[in-house]
Amino acid sequence: MRVGIEVGGTFTDLVAVGDGKITVTKVPSTPHSPDIGALNALKEAGIKIDTLSDLAHGSTVATNAVLERKGAKVAFVATEGFRDILFLQRHDRRSIYNIKYQKPEPVVARRDCFEVSERILANGDVVEALNEQAVREKLIPALKAGGYGAVAICLLNGYANPVHENRLLELIEESVPGLLVTRSSEIVRIFREFERASTTSLSAFVQPVIDNYLGRLESNLKEDGFKGHLTVMQSNGGRLPATAMRRSAITALFSGPAAGVVGAARQSSKSGFENLITFDMGGTSTDVCLVDNGRPALTMETEIGGLPVMTPVLDIVTVGGGGGSIAWIDDGGMLRVGPQSAGADPGPACYGFGGKLPTVTDAQVVRGAVRPEAFLGGRMKIDVEAARNAFTEIADHFGMTIDEAAESVVRLVNSNIVRAIQLVSTERGRDPRDYALVPFGGGGPLHAASIAEELGIETICIPPNAGVISAFGLLASDFVKFGNRTQKMPMKDGPVEGATIFAELRDELMEEFKQMGLPADKLEFTYTADMRFVGQAFELGVELPGDRLKSLTVKDFGDGFEEAHFRMFYHGVGANRPIEIVSFRVGATYPVGEIPDLRSTGDAAHSLVEHPVFDGGEWISCQHMASEALKTGEKIDKPTIIEGSTATTFVPAGWHAELDDASNLIMKRS
């Protein structure tokens, strides 16, 4: 039996695969200690823990630790003269016309920041040796006295030469055994000290939290007879064995939305779609990601609570538009949706829990797309009148009917999602029309067609059980790890010196996988050089053909770079400017092998219900059906709402749909 358990803010989802069938279970999350929710989900699903071969786990433990500032007490160590790096930050503001602006708050207190005297240059030369005596006499006693849970070290140019960071680690380990120490050079070997220090401090901050959490989960499982592999999702869309994750906490920081993207990509590839734009529409926000050739796009730069994080994470853009997002009129008279959300309490007006403000879910109820009897499989009572009343103010203000107001709100939230999709596509030099749209989460498939039309997308692939695709993604994800090294060189040195670095990084990764008990012969590698025109400061990643690493040419590097630069910046091809390589990155993937089938059953009897939907400014006739009734090969060519227990799909006029062999519902424009 293989099980994926994804802990979300409200629900903990479980997908179990084995004995030729698939089980989907949802239990309430237990935010104070999410592992209890995970264990509850196993109980609820009736799974015998000793029969588990594979338990893949995803949680927002690391993310929440940062957002709620509930991590370790961290000591930060910097080069003399620079202990304020985390506070000075980059000296700029995110919001420029704000007289009362405040910077994002670091996870370390200023009183816990220390300095050591040493200096290394950008080329790695040591100009001032580490003053070990001072370390022993000042830093070590302070670390002993401070009651710290972790230490983060980020020395200037430590990315170029980690010798002093390494030596500090030894000195601290000698004197304060057991204290967790994180070096910037082991986390990210890239220049810009603030961003690297921020990443390092965040890693140190969450490491003990992750370590405790996974330790507790492992021992609870063992008590119940667990003998399988416990693996954990990372921000890069791959898994790691839990034991390895306990030493690599930073890669857990954005693992929440990553599993869904991987699940969506894997499930769509069964229908032959490799180039996708995924969007996950939940209660308060929507996460968007672009997938090329089955591989979700990565970015090296992201942030959490305003603090920069430099580590490969899926390039996911989040917008504040979900089912609970509230529609409002601003003081300039413009219609807006979000980012405020009604949340679960009071929730949308139609829940009847006292919410009076109009939400996206209310809009879908008003326009008939959500049938009161069918909401959440009929488990929840819906108050249509309350939903309609919530839109009175907007309708009156703009001189619209309630129905028009509701449809406007739906279209506006769609346009927010469209902009997020443009951010990951057009802004990255990709044309959305070359992609299939893959919606998931409870609301995704309901909004997909209209979003596709805005973007000129012709095909939509809707996975079965779209509301729990994240838990499925845990099981479907590979083991992934990245190695990187900053070593600046002119492009001409790429084919020889660069290829040597690639090979070294590859060998290091093979060794790491061996230690995780995953044989190196199955590994697949990607090779990326980060390049720029000499004088620029931001690099573009250029992927190189790994199958001929030994015979790379300067042209491989140059053409790849100029093409990428033009795609991104609209200039640079044939610029005849010198190009340099700044850093090298190798990604190693241990494929998970056969992916379990996520299928819908198709065994329920058809019971079509006619219930009109307000679409395009008029009430149109629309049939509603249960997703369990849909059979493989069955075609839909008139307006239809497909009601599932985890998600609702809308096939509007102008679209037709068919359930294919992989249980994906494929929608195309007529």
């Binding site: 506070f87 016309y97 009183r111 810009r192 406007s408 506006l412």
Partner: protein
């Protein structure tokens, strides 16, 4: 046709997104540290009349009058005469521009043969020639400050990419590779913005896009008028002074603002401001306008009110011709941020009487420019760092520590970027300084010290700054922030550089630049003990200073 509320929301947000993307790409494809690291550049989309519709939120000072800077170009080359491939360019302080280093470029955007707007960008260029590299504080007229590019029209095909204008500029500047690279980043941003605007026209129709642009101006106007309306009508005054015009041998230079609030309009009059001076701290009128617009925007409206030309409609301003805020040519203007910030503070002091809860105490509010240069065998190495200081304390919170001030928004340059790019100096420390802020119910933001170790003989250091003699003022009983300073440690010798100077350096010198803190807001007696203790524990406040300002204040009760 009247577009629907929905279409308006969709198109306007598309235009905002395009402008934001222009800013991102401008910075990311740039070459010089001042543009790619300090991010001293801005971008905007204008309509066919040259009005700012949406902007990338980068530098308020540059953004404020993009719309005014294109006008002299359009007077010479009316919109209907422009063709595909043309571009307009202007950096002339006496023809709508600000200071020479900020070069504004406008690329017209055509849709189906019709002009629909302009992609506009500005970058502070590292060096545009003139009497010394990067910054010539000795300049006694504008000609000594670098290359003047009057409002003009060129063509990409003919004049750039090896063409006449590109070669003319490259021949007159000290670091052409970086600077021409930065110009290319400006063009790329403009094309990108233009492309996005065309996509919106394709999708929604050119009429709908035009209408949305018009409505975006109206929208901002409505929200700004609503904000002004909340103020009590009246005439409010404020004044502030520049330390000195050092090179002109002149002591405090006064700037006075009279702000008249009437209904939903504001008039800002700088009558009574001192005459222009014979050194580079004159503020061209375009810059003065930018100050007034930014000050009203910052103080009165929420940060989600978009800045565009609609903001101008309820605001009028004037400054006497020949004054430091509206100088006559050919007065030099390089350090126009110095008078600009005093004008900003004069307006804020006036507004504090009308809106005491919205305005903060004065921040360090001064751009400090540190310029290091060295002539090498292979050419010049030039580095410019723009710095801010601490914000002023406010009604409901402390001032932000060590950050760029309100009219600007430059990032620091990472020490590691400098280590990789320059070998004639090295940053020795960069740190916040204890007791550097004004005290009050809410304290000001802390100032910071940045020090440079000089590694080669023959380097020069130029600076302009202010608040070395008169500190940022506290408000409503709060105390003043700390003074800034600049000095050189040469062995046992301490050489005071002052706020506006050019000095030759020796190997081994340590140059210290200190940017001070902001003023406090309200009576220190009212400060929460927990806040005082927190500052002491964090090392930002010494126990002695706390005793002096807070203990005694509390004991006196």
């Amino acid at each position: 046709m009247k577009i629907s509320a929905l279409d308006y929301a969709v198109i306007s947000q598309g235009i905002h997104a395009a402008a934001r993307e222009m800013g991102v790409k401008l910075i990311r494809s740039a070459y010089s540290t001042i543009l790619r690291e300090a991010r001293d550049g801005s971008a905007a989309l204008l309509d066919a009349q040259g009005r700012t519709i949406a902007q990338a939120e980068l530098i308020p000072m540059q953004l404020g009058t993009i719309d005014a800077i294109v006008q002299p170009c359009l007077e010479l080359y009316p919109p209907e005469t422009l063709v595909e491939g043309d571009f307009l360019i202007n950096n002339h302080p006496y023809h709508g521009g600000q200071h020479l280093q900020d070069v504004f470029i406008f690329n017209p955007v055509f849709f189906e043969g019709e002009l629909i707007g302009f992609g506009a960008s500005v970058a502070h260029h590292l060096d545009l020639g003139g009497g010394s590299a990067g910054l010539n504080p000795n300049a006694s007229d504008v000609y000594q400050e670098g290359l003047l590019i009057p409002p003009s029209k060129y063509n990409m095909e003919r004049d750039w990419n090896g063409g006449n204008l590109e070669r003319l500029i490259a021949a007159n500047i000290r670091v052409p590779t970086q600077t021409i690279g930065d110009f290319n980043a400006q063009f790329a941003a403009n094309f990108m913005g233009g492309g996005r605007l065309k996509e919106l026209c394709t999708k929604h129709g050119v009429d709908a896009v035009r209408e949305a642009m018009e409505e975006m101006l109206n929208y901002t106007e409505r929200r700004v008028r609503a904000a002004i309306e909340e103020l009590p009508d009246g005439v409010y005054t404020g004044e502030d002074c520049i330390d000195d015009a050092a090179f002109a041998g002149q002591d405090p230079v006064w700037i006075r603002a009279k702000v008249t609030v009437k209904g939903d309009t504001i008039d800002v009059d700088f009558e009574g401001t001192d005459p222009q001076v014979a050194c580079n701290i004159n503020c061209p009128f375009a810059s003065t306008q930018s100050v007034a617009l930014s000050a009203v925007k910052v103080a009165l409206t929420g940060s989600d009110v978009p800045f565009n030309s609609g903001l101008r409609r309820p605001i009028t301003f004037r400054a006497p011709y020949g004054s430091i805020l509206n100088p006559k040519p050919p007065a030099p203007v390089r350090a126009r941020m110095i008078p600009a910030y005093r004008a900003y503070d004069a307006i804020m002091k006036a507004l504090s009487k009308a809106a005491p809860e919205k305005v903060t105490a004065m921040g360090f509010d001064c751009t400090t420019i540190a310029c290091l240069s060295h002539q090498e065998d292979t050419g010049f190495a030039v580095h410019i760092e723009p710095y801010g200081g601490g914000f002023g304390g406010g009604f409901d919170r402390d001032g932000c520590d060590a950050i760029d001030n309100q009219l600007s928004n430059c990032a620091n340059t990472p020490v590691e970027a400098l280590d990789a790019g320059y070998d004639f100096f090295r940053i020795k420390s960069y740190a916040m300084v204890a007791d550097s802020f004004g005290h009050g119910r809410h304290r000001g933001g802390a100032g910071f010290l940045r020090s440079y170790e000089i590694l080669k003989d023959g380097a020069t250091f130029a600076i302009y700054s202010d608040h070395h003699k008169f500190a940022a003022s506290g408000l409503f009983g709060g105390s003043d922030g700390s003074l800034g300073y600049c000095r050189i440690l040469r062995g046992k010798e301490i050489i005071t550089v002052g706020s506006k100077n050019l000095v030759n350096l020796k190997k081994g010198d340590i140059v210290e630049v200190f940017c001070g803190g902001g003023g406090g807001y309200g009576d220190p007696k009212e400060r929460a003990r927990s806040d005082i203790d927190h500052d002491i524990a964090e090392g930002l406040l010494t126990a002695a200073e706390a005793d002096r300002f807070y203990q005694s204040a509390q004991a006196a009760e």
